[in-house]
Amino acid sequence: MDNTDKKRILISPVTRIEGHAKITIQLNDNGKVENALFHVNEFRGFEKFCEGRMYTEMPIITPRICGICPISHSIASVKACEMIQGIQPTYTGNLLRRLIHLGQNISSHALSFFHLSAPDFLLGYDSDPAVRNILGLAASHKEIAVGGIRLRKFGQEISERITGKKIHISGIAPGGMAYPLTEENRLALLAWIPEALHTVQMGIEIIKKFQEENEEMIASFATSPTLYLGMVGKHGEHEIYDGNLRFIDADGTILQDQLNPAKYLDFIAERSVEWSYLKYPYYKPLGFEKGIYRVGPLARLNVASAMKTPKAQAEFEAFKKINNGKPVHGTFYYHYARLIETLSSVEEAEIILNDSEITSNKIQTHGRWNNSEGIGCSEAPRGTLFHHYITDETGKLTKVNLLIATGQNNPSMNRSITDVAKQYINGNNIQEGMLNRVESAIRCYDPCLSCSTHAMGQMPLVIEFINSEGALINTIERL
């Protein structure tokens, strides 16, 4: 196995820290790109180590899967618990959860756009990497950088003002919420709304301008059509907290509508692959090859018939025009979709904060173990999330299955990378700009880093080239 060791040395120089995204390009006999493998290097084993614990612990344990979308894990988890108990949350409990979930969506999307992507758009992809970040942005575009930091803060503050904590909160419990919202905190949150709206609109202007100026690049950038999955409300409207699911095909035809998430095993399967710790889910009726689907902001806007709030609806109409009412496949449009969702989240937060029941103390009902099985589903910032628990009659977990948002984008991330590789590589001849393209293809998906890979900021990338005999012929890396 010295061959293996040699490879190992090549791809893991000791100076390189944090190389969690790796790519292998396989070439065929003619030196053409055969395939690309996207390696995700993270595995923590939640499905196993939760076995034997009480199901009621899950809304506290599972948020620790991810510090960026912990609330979505709590929500999916608590819904699974409620199915086990056979209860529904109270009106106010549900509303508070919805509000906290919107807050997370705002902060996660703000992070993705203002901290991680806006520096590329405003300072340029080719600007000095040492300043191409939120601090560099603060030096040259102070209003935008500080606005982004504060928009993220607003989202986080919703959790804090209800539960006393911003990350890995407690209080999201079966039957509703353990903590109410005080009138003082309601007013304090409401006071944020005008500023938050202003910042999102600033973001929307930035992305629209960038789209206009880079039309050609965007039109040819990782545009492979896929199916889409997202949650919708009763009338097909955009929904991220509670609803049923809709699958559409690449032309926008609805394949399945108002699917009960508890039946997810009927329409989603996944496959483990040798080259990644992240599995490859697919739409079951079409099989592994044809069933590639995407989730997240782009998917949710593609499946939705309308938005729930007026300002977001106006943007949504502009979004729908991009491909004349058909699904928008250009991976780059994830950014725009993400901002439209942020806008709708801020608007919806305002509506909830003005609900006369939001400060009520009727926040939780109580139940006990009734059913052995529970399935919960929520949209996370990066896509649809499923928690599935099976318990024994004492409530101890015997089986846990988690289907995580970024996992579902994994097959298409791999495909986007293959697309880019085919476009930019011929034998040993690698065209300049390839690494940037690969990176921005992955970045569009905003992969949830702990759910999948550690890939914020400039991604440390290692790309290996393997010939048809499996021998390593070239390695390029950016540290």
């Binding site: 100076t15 820290i17 196993k48 180590f49 620790r64 911003k166 990350i167 996944e270 496959r271 599995k279």
Partner: protein, 180 residues
């Protein structure tokens, strides 16, 4: 006082500690006045130069993490374990109650949603998970710890700010520790 250099690194954790670090909000600009953030998941991914302070999130779970943390120790004057995963191994260490093969098979072979054609991940490009997850001090000397899952943003800011001003933080006096 010359500007100090800070790095933040993420090993086996959930990113929650880094998110809490970001929750210092606008104060990040104060930190940037006193120090250059030379490496951080949200700044960039280049190699780690010699630095004054490295904040480390997460436990050591694999061959790569071990290599990384040894390198971090060699490059950093002060290593701070940020959050419970780094300090005690916390949630990341919960898999230690099972053998690794069981943990693997549960996710990659026996998951209810898996089809029957999958293969257990095993590729040269993947990091090799260690049988047991360990916190930082099992493999390196740690200079300071900030407990919490994640530690509160004010606590992280306080510790960082004290170190940047060449003072040793005092967590008990500052009443900065919160449960959770």
């Amino acid at each position: 006082m010359p500007k100090k250099k800070i790095a933040t690194v993420w090993l086996g954790g959930c990113s929650g500690c880094h998110m809490s670090l970001l929750d210092i909000d606008e104060r990040i600009l104060d930190v940037a006045q006193l120090a250059d953030i030379v490496k951080c998941p949200i700044v960039d991914g280049k190699e780690l130069p010699e630095v004054d302070i490295t904040l480390v999130e997460g436990s050591v779970t694999s061959d790569e993490h071990l290599r990384e943390i040894l390198h971090i120790r060699a490059q950093s004057k002060t290593v701070i374990a940020m959050g419970d995963c780094a300090v005690t191994s916390n949630i990341t260490g919960m898999r230690n109650y099972f053998n690794l093969k069981e943990v693997f098979d549960t996710a990659y072979v026996n998951a209810i949603s898996n089809d029957t054609e999958g293969k257990v991940p095993n590729h040269i490009a993947l990091l090799k998970l260690h049988e047991k997850v360990v916190p930082l001090q099992e493999v390196i000397t740690v200079d300071f710890v900030i407990p919490g899952c994640p530690p509160n943003a004010d606590t992280i800011f306080y510790v960082l700010y004290e170190f940047l001003n060449d003072r040793i933080p005092n967590l008990s006096e500052a009443k900065k520790l919160k449960y959770g």
